[in-house]
């Protein structure tokens, strides 16, 4: 990403085709979700959210225990667990597995975690062809773009754009008909599925009590990815663990409804270990890669730990007035939307885009739809504090810091605050007739680019209050004076006694 955050925002806002694609697709998702959670199931839905939040909290508070349980169970079922400290170690482990098994073609099901570690680029460099088999991801791979949305990677593409892409890259006739476009992708992918030596998936959940990897989907490509090739590698963040299969009664209901407005996705797969004696399908070798990549750092942060509750449903993006305007590619990092705005800075640490946590009006729509009740605005506020702390360290003349210092000082001095009001009254431009102002200098110039600004009131509230109720105001002043006198008298009395 060579352009700046603000430049990418600018590009998205100016592209009217893109604007209408994002708006209509996210609105469809948001409406689908709303239909599933409104009355008469609203009460049940809220109970599910509370339960999900509590299960996630419990699991993360006891993650050490559950991680070991996962490893024991996966090994019992003939699989292998590989612990990956960071993205690089995960990529290296997958490359090693590919070499060991002589893999030249790997099919992949949709995995944001694989995007996070940059897996495709690494595989290509080592001569392993990665093929995305989720339709949206397939489109993105053909167009050379990263996913636009954590659930719907090609959300921003119009049918015409996809038809053009397919005709260029797949050598087929231009055709905008969705079924025929899907069939064209299917023909390409069937061949890849048959030839691939390795299947790479993510994991929606990893069940600690059984070691099962749980994957949800609508297209059936995950079933093929995880069962046809000789080798299956599942890449999962350590936060994907839930204690029991029974907990899925909560999470599966929430995930389908929140992500796509479905009560349940079309397919739910439970995969534990490799093919056993007497079984007719499944991989010969199964590897579960458990990825840290900054997660244990988030886990250690008591305030922001809840970031790890995320089940990647994308509901926060669909409702977010900012995501719905700037789109997925404006965000730095693999994850977009409100969850990306709190996840990416924590994954990337000190070098992250400092403006990102500020790109929010803190409207809270994301927290309202989050199925696991992550308080995203509160996380953004915490990140804002950290950004400013880092920026002002060793910089005594940070303009914003100085500005707020002065402001804070004034706000603790009501008389001065009032006098500055008089002063501003005298120097600020005014239409004189109470009309709103069309252009202002300084930091308010950005305001008046698109809006008018109110003139200062000719008389402030406190002045009007005094005029309205001279007696009450005088009484108030007298009582303040009296209480001050009382304080000083009791002080001197105290001294005499001593």
């Amino acid at each position: 990403m060579s352009s700046s955050f603000h430049e990418r925002i600018d590009v998205a806002l100016r592209d009217l085709t893109l604007q209408s694609s994002i708006q209509s697709a996210t609105a469809r998702f948001a409406e689908g979700r709303r239909d599933q959670v409104e009355e008469p199931t609203f009460g049940e839905y809220q109970q599910l959210r509370t339960a999900a939040n509590q299960i996630k909290r419990h699991t993360l508070d006891n993650l050490d225990y559950y991680l070991e349980q996962v490893e024991t169970k996966v090994v019992e079922h003939g699989g292998e667990v590989i612990w990956c400290y960071d993205g690089d170690s995960a990529v290296k482990a997958i490359l090693r597995i590919a070499r060991e098994h002589g893999v030249s073609l790997a099919v992949k099901s949709k995995s944001m975690t694989s995007e996070e570690v940059g897996l495709n680029e690494a595989l290509e460099k080592e001569g392993v062809e990665p093929v995305e088999t989720d339709l949206g991801e397939f489109i993105m791979q053909l167009s050379g773009e990263r996913p636009y949305h954590i659930v719907a990677p090609a959300l921003h593409k119009t049918r015409a754009q996809i038809a053009k892409l397919f005709s260029e890259k797949l050598g087929i006739a231009y055709d905008e008909e969705p079924t025929r476009l899907t069939m064209a992708a299917r023909r390409v992918l069937r061949d890849k599925f048959q030839r691939a030596e390795m299947g790479i998936s993510g994991a929606n959940f990893v069940v600690a009590e059984s070691g099962a990897v749980v994957l949800v989907e609508n297209e059936g490509n995950i079933r093929l990815t995880t069962s046809l090739p000789r080798v299956h590698v599942a890449l999962a963040g350590i936060e994907k663990i839930i204690p029991r299969a029974g907990d899925l009664a909560v999470f599966l209901k929430l995930l389908g409804r929140s992500a796509s407005g479905q009560r349940l996705t079309s397919y739910t797969s439970f995969l534990s270990g490799s093919r056993r004696d007497g079984e007719i399908s499944g991989p010969e070798k199964f590897y579960l890669l458990l990825l840290d990549n900054g997660r244990s750092r988030i886990l250690a942060d008591h305030e922001k730990r809840q970031t790890l509750y995320c089940i990647r449903c994308g509901a926060c993006s669909n409702i977010c007035p900012v995501y719905r305007r700037i789109g997925g590619h404006a965000y730095p990092g693999a994850y977009s939307g409100p969850i990306g705005a709190i996840l990416t800075p924590q994954f990337q640490g000190a070098g992250h885009e400092p403006e990102l946590p500020f790109a929010s009006s803190l409207c809270g729509a994301c927290a309202e739809v989050c199925p696991v009740k992550i308080d995203i605005p509160r996380m953004l506020l915490a990140l804002r504090r950290e950004v400013k702390k880092a920026e002002t360290r060793d910089r005594p003349f940070h303009w914003e810091k100085v500005g707020f210092r002065v402001w804070s000082w004034v706000m603790q001095r009501p008389k001065l605050f009032e006098q500055l009001g008089f002063f501003a009254q005298a120097v600020l431009p005014s239409s004189g007739r109470g009309e709103w102002l069309g252009s202002l200098p300084g930091p308010l110039k950005a305001w008046t680019g698109s809006r008018d600004f109110p003139p200062l009131a000719p008389r402030s509230f406190r002045q009007l209050w005094r005029a309205r109720r001279p007696r009450a105001a005088t009484l108030e002043r007298e009582s303040v004076a009296r209480s001050e006198q009382t304080t000083s008298r009791s002080d001197s009395a105290g001294r005499r006694h001593a």
């Binding site: 700037i326 009006s361 603790q412 509230f461 009007l464």
Partner: protein
């Protein structure tokens, strides 16, 4: 029922929209409450807090605690400022037990204006008359942090000669967001465009809200476009007889 209500008018109302504070006082007095205005009040500290400057916010918050020490009930004409006090003050003083205690005592006594009327005073009809076709904009912090959705609407429905029309996306942010409105001016302005379009589609001549900052954003946009739609704080509607 001569309970004393302490007004926290907020910095924005004090300097830019004093009529809102006066209207709030009038409604409360008409209902038999005794009002007081503690002159040393300034701001709740939210501008610094939302910008990441905690120490600066804490100083202002502590000033607020001192000013309102001993107040029975505090009423605020802003959902956002009320939410700041109720939900974020405690976090500012997590290392300072006495201020934290003062905050917790205070937070339970701070109410947004419509919340106070409906939930505390138990009043949904203040006897107001305001001839208008109005639409209500949900301010984010009132709606989501304070759960105030029906309270202001019920008050509005009981205003004589006022027709309330719901706009589409009433719950969607107007794009203000404090410094967000200038740091990300383009996004903020685009959000405002959508809000204004939704307002115009209702055919209403008046937009009502319980947050002066949303009204500043919305009126700023209406004024720039020279649109004949007025903005009113709920208190101004309820104060007119």
């Amino acid at each position: 029922m001569s309970q004393r209500v302490s007004l926290f008018v907020t910095c924005l109302v004090d300097q830019l929209f004093p009529e809102v504070g006066l209207a709030m006082a009038e409604v409360l007095e008409r209902l038999g409450y005794e009002t007081e205005f503690r002159e040393a009040q300034t701001c709740c500290g939210q501008p610094a807090f939302n910008s990441g400057f905690v120490a600066e916010a804490r100083g202002v918050a502590r000033h607020f605690l001192n000013v309102f020490d001993g107040a029975e009930v505090i009423v605020v004409p802003s959902g956002s400022c009320c939410s700041m006090i109720r939900h974020h003050f405690a976090g500012l003083f997590h290392k300072d037990a006495s201020s934290k205690q003062a905050t917790e005592n205070l937070a339970a006594r701070v109410y947004e204006f419509s919340e106070f009327l409906v939930e505390v005073a138990g009043i949904e009809d203040v006897g107001a008359t305001f001839p208008a076709t109005a639409t209500y904009h949900d301010s984010c912090h009132a709606l989501r942090d304070l759960k105030l959705k029906e309270q202001p609407r019920r008050l509005l429905r009981n205003v004589r000669q006022l027709e309330l029309r719901e706009m589409e996306l009433a719950e969607e942010c107007c794009g203000f967001g404090g410094t967000f409105s200038v740091k990300f001016e383009d996004i903020s302005a685009d959000m405002l465009d959508s809000k204004i379009e939704a307002i115009l589609r209702t055919g209403a001549d008046t937009v009502v809200s319980i947050d002066p900052s949303c009204l500043m954003q919305i009126r700023g946009g209406l004024s720039r476009r020279r649109l004949p739609v007025q903005t009113k704080h709920l208190a101004e509607i309820l104060a007119s007889a």
